[in-house]
């Protein structure tokens, strides 16, 4: 009998205890600093070394380069850069391998869409995805 009373007392006290519910869609959820979210890509830093496309375990990165418009300079600049978020596993390898930090992770993670086509993100989209960029890459 004492056990029953104890149990009832405990649940009664819990009524006013602090709730653990997050108000996520109403209030943004702060992610931890090392969270691996959707990549941000800065085309001006890219040297078209292709390492990100080669290291990618799901082969979701496709990129093409073109010769530098200034004939004086050597090397290439980026022309197209697409990530397929249908298969991207956000593993951070592209960021780790990038020598110029042209591709970095952000803390954004909301990828839900009504069409699968919308999950192919191109260079401009990835460039504009410049909020909540991760501090250390």
């Amino acid at each position: 009998m004492l056990g029953l009373a104890k149990g009832l007392g405990y649940t009664f006290k819990r009524m006013t205890a602090k709730k653990v519910t997050h108000f996520y869609p109403d209030v943004p959820f702060p992610m931890p600093p090392r969270f691996r979210g959707i990549q941000h890509f800065s085309p001006e830093k890219c040297i078209v070394c292709n390492q990100c496309a080669r290291i990618c375990p799901t082969e979701c990165i496709q990129l093409t380069g073109k010769p530098h418009p200034d004939p004086e300079k050597k090397g290439k600049i980026i022309d197209t850069y697409d990530i397929n978020f249908e298969i991207c596993i956000l593993c951070d390898l592209c960021t780790e391998v990038c020598p110029t930090e042209a591709i970095v992770m952000t803390n954004n993670f909301e990828l839900a869409t009504y069409s699968r086509d919308e999950l192919y993100k191109n260079l401009t989209w990835l460039d504009d995805n410049n909020t909540n960029v991760r501090e250390e890459n």
Partner: protein, 335 residues
């Protein structure tokens, strides 16, 4: 209301009774809607959650939305179910739940039928619901439904015995089975003090009669999928849910009337508060107890359940009758 009851029957006052019953039904539906809402809220709070809060302000329209969804759902029926019984079962479960409310005196004057055998009427009619539950279990042609239905029948029949026996003490003290007179006899002291043993037995047995936690074995989700109403959907399922919550209202009213002095105030000095408010407060405290227990108690095993009814509750209830009878005989100078 009581003047109306004593008039000669005519078409005019039959219409009045019909309208009064409709008003009661509407109040009842409102009660059930917000009982479900507060059940989810209270259990949520006790589990460190906040409960429904998306539909309408503070989630107040959550149950309305749920019921609307149930009503527009397809009315499915298993292929080999017994057509007639399958359709009859929800009605058989719900109709007595509403019919028992007729004898409950909500205040001194607000009562739908002033029966001399109010208690017997309540208990006899609420027994019919078991029939609806078995019918549902059988007619669904589903083994889980059948197990749930039979469990429910075994449980409700077993617990009805201590339930009735625990009320006998109150009847002995009052010398009447009329619910109004039972309340009026509690002017000086509410029955739960002299009849504490009977009250305890009544509370436990009522919990089992209502099929609610910790005695919710007929609906044990984890072992029986959903109990006797597995195959029901749409408004038929809504009828079963409605019956469950209307019985909660009825049982709360019974506890209030039998043991907590119905519409009587705590102290005569507080009688400026209308009786219906006192009745509602006591009823709602009982309803809160239901939610509180549901958030606290685990469910016993089937064999523990049965032996508890016959080996613990029934002897205690009989002992209570014996003690009450001896005390009353002593007071009236028979011993």
């Amino acid at each position: 209301m009581r003047d109306l009851l004593q008039q000669t029957p005519s078409l005019g006052n039959a219409l009045w009774f019909f309208l009064a019953a409709v008003v009661l039904l509407v109040i009842l539906l409102g009660f059930v809607t917000y009982a479900i809402y507060f059940e989810r809220k209270v259990i949520g709070w006790m589990q460190a959650r906040i409960g429904p809060n998306r539909v309408g302000p503070l989630g107040l329209l959550q149950t309305v939305a749920d019921v609307a969804k149930l009503l527009i759902k397809e009315d499915t029926r298993p292929k080999h179910a017994d057509k007639a019984l399958y359709a009859l079962a929800p009605i058989l479960a719900y109709a007595p739940a509403f019919a028992v409310l007729a004898v409950l005196p909500f205040t001194e004057t607000l009562q739908f039928a002033d029966l001399g055998i109010g208690i017997l009427y309540y208990i006899a009619l609420s027994g019919i619901t078991v029939l609806g539950v078995i019918t549902a279990g059988w007619a669904s042609n589903n083994k889980y439904s059948l197990i749930g239905g039979l469990r429910s029948a075994a449980q409700m029949i077993s617990y009805e015995v201590p339930l009735v026996m625990s009320v006998v003490g109150v009847v002995l003290m009052t010398g009447s089975m009329n619910l109004r007179e039972i309340v009026l006899a509690q002017q000086d002291m509410w029955n739960f003090i002299p009849q504490f043993l009977g009250f305890a037995v009544f509370l436990v047995a009522a919990q089992a009669e209502l099929n609610r936690t910790p005695f919710d074995l007929p609906e044990a989700e984890s072992e029986l999928v959903g109990g006797y109403h597995v195959e029901y959907s749409g408004f038929r399922f809504a009828m079963f849910m409605l019956a469950e919550y209307v019985y909660m209202f009825g049982m709360g009213a019974m506890v209030t009337i039998l043991f907590f002095g119905g519409w009587l105030p705590i102290h005569p000095a507080l009688s400026f508060i209308p009786g219906i408010v006192w009745f509602a407060v006591k009823l709602l405290l009982y309803v809160f107890l239901q939610f509180w227990l549901r958030a606290t108690m685990p469910r016993p095993r089937v064999d523990q359940l049965m032996s508890f009814a016959w080996k613990v509750l029934l002897p205690v209830a009989l002992l209570n009758i014996l003690i009450t009878a001896v005390v009353i005989s002593y007071q009236s100078g028979m011993i």
